[in-house]
Amino acid sequence: MIGYYFVLAIRSLKRNVVLTVLMVVAIGVGIGASMTTLTVFRAMSGDPLPGKSAQLFVPQIDNWGPKKRGSGARARAFKLPNQLTYTDAIGLMNARAARHQSAMYASGLPLIPANPALQPFVAHIRAASADFFPMFAVPFAYGAAWSAADDSAHAAVAVLSHELNDKLFAGANSVGRTVNLDGLEYRVVGVLEHWEPIPKFYDLTDEKFGQGAGVYVPFTRAIEAHMNPWGSVNCRDDTESGWEGRLRSECIWIQFWVELPTPADAARYRGFLHSYASEQLRSGRFDWHAETALRDLPQWLQFNDVVSDEVRILVLVSFSFLFVCLLNAMGLMLAKIMGRSREIGIRRALGANRGAIFMQCLIESAVIGLLGAALGLLLTHLGLLGLRALLSESIAALTHLDVLDIGIVILVAVASAILAGMYPTWRAAQVQPAWQLKGQ
């Protein structure tokens, strides 16, 4: 019977094209508006490392103390520093209290390509520890990450991004070749596959969305080479000048991640952080007992307001608009279905029970939903194109429809149409055949 109802639905929709178009437009426009914002919202709030995000943590230490925290409203709004000092980063690294751990920061250096056809350019660099790659399950196209021994030796080794390898070596296996960074040759040990987690969770201090580094080098090497941080550097008070002064300062500029596979590991690490803070008090570095925190990846995204309140409000407003569109569609469907009371009466007289009439009208609603989904997809696509023109490049990268998004659009449109058609359908099923037929 489903096929029969489907054929009836098509016939019914063709019978009154204007009403059908109005219903499809009402649903399509609502879907287009809501799905455009939802697509961006989903991309922004998605899990960048599904299956692993609950095992990745960011330790935080309040190295600024009560002076920075202030009092009253300021104290209430205070958030723990979102990066570590070099001192704390090295302290935690040396303790090796986690399965994997990496201190990291963004930098940049001039890169002189071996290919004379290419102009020198400034390469985006991420200084990190060897654990960065296995900890974040970074995929390699060629070679592998450098070793812990390379970290210890401050080795001049590098891992290239897929995109930079394409640019420098035309996508060939460049392992064993070198890249010249600021006059020093770095031996390529690995080339990544395309890797662009959204959001760029491991460093949210600068752009939350956007491309990662082109070159990855050992953290120890970057420190030794005095590679200046390109990201945010926040200091408690005036600091000594010079590189060594920065390393000794209470400025925060280093991101730090640990992998703790089990809740027990996380609990132990919290205890370790607490002890570490106590040790800083005992050693006289702090004259307060520093508050510490350990946030997993989802909590970290929330802590950094990756999805802003504005975006949440936009999603809410657009879904309210969808609701208004659905109310309109419901009114139109009611008019359409009640206009067919005579036919419903005839069908009831010929043996259709209420369930059959309900199903017939419901499938008609679903067909309208499918047409609305098609229009909604088109409008969502246009909406995302519009956003690309309006938003920054990093956000614009999010504005695409994948298979899941298309599935969601279709599902939401059909569900919306069925929801809008539910009351008219119920009314149709209540049609008393005797009244209709007596009225002839």
């Binding site: 019914s12 005579r342 069908r347 009831r348 010929l350 043996g351 029970n353 209420r354 008393q432 005797a434």
Partner: protein, 236 residues
């Protein structure tokens, strides 16, 4: 086949209760052709809609083909209607955007027949009413008489035990009406049980038996003309 005993149908509002049928009794045997006559507003159509399970009754008993239909749920009533009753309406009640074939197909769809069974029954019914050549026509392309023949084909397709006809010639000219009546008589001769509501005495005499309804009650004209029960009244 159809047995109503002291059946009543009341329409109630907050302040008034009006009886459309009261102490209404009728017994139609299998194979009978009964004409139900009466003036406008006498309750003929209400009787027909109750007989066709399109409307509930308020009191009394109604047995259709030996089954007490009181209190049956919508699903069971719809199934009985589909399997045992064929309707022929004054206004034909064809679905305008379905062609002749698909109109006759409607009750068979709800019966759950497969495509081959439906096709065979539809072709047989249309042949019976002489419209097999018009199966792809739409109702608007047919004359009134032809439309009523389609309605009769639709009523016959499910091979029902009972045909209920409500003023089947009411919208037809005399020539077309004669053709439809000839067809009903032919169906009756072939064994169909027919209950026909009409206000036309000329048509009524062509039935085997006439039951006259006045003010919601039966007057048996074949016996002695007497009023069964009391007159209907509005109760405040």
């Amino acid at each position: 086949m159809l047995k109503m005993t002291n059946l009543s149908k009341a329409y109630r509002t907050e302040i008034v209760e009006t009886y459309a049928l009261r102490d209404f009794s009728i017994h139609v045997q299998a194979g009978e052709f009964v004409a139900v006559t009466g003036p406008s507003g006498s309750g003929k159509t209400t009787f027909l809609t109750i007989a066709g399970l399109l409307e509930e009754f308020t009191g009394g008993e109604y047995q259709l083909d030996g089954e007490d239909v009181h209190g049956l749920d919508d699903s069971r009533r719809s199934r009985l209607r589909n399997e045992k009753i064929g309707f022929i309406f004054q206004a034909f009640n064809l679905i305008h955007d379905l062609n002749v074939f698909d109109n006759v197909d409607v009750p068979l769809r709800y019966r759950g027949f497969n495509a081959a069974q439906r096709r065979r029954r539809i072709q047989a019914s249309l042949e019976r009413v002489g419209l097999s050549a018009r199966s792809r026509h739409y109702p608007a392309e047919l004359s009134g008489g032809q439309q009523q023949r389609v309605a009769i084909a639709r009523a016959l397709a499910g091979e029902p035990r009972l045909l209920l006809a409500d003023e089947p010639t009411g919208n037809l000219d005399t020539q077309m009406a004669r053709g439809v009546m000839d067809l009903l008589e032919e169906l009756h001769r072939d064994g169909a049980t027919i209950v026909m509501v009409t206000h036309d005495p000329e048509l009524a005499v062509r039935a085997q038996r006439e039951v006259h309804v006045v003010d919601g009650q039966v007057v048996d004209l074949t016996a002695q003309p007497r009023l069964v029960g009391t007159a209907p009244q509005a109760q405040a």
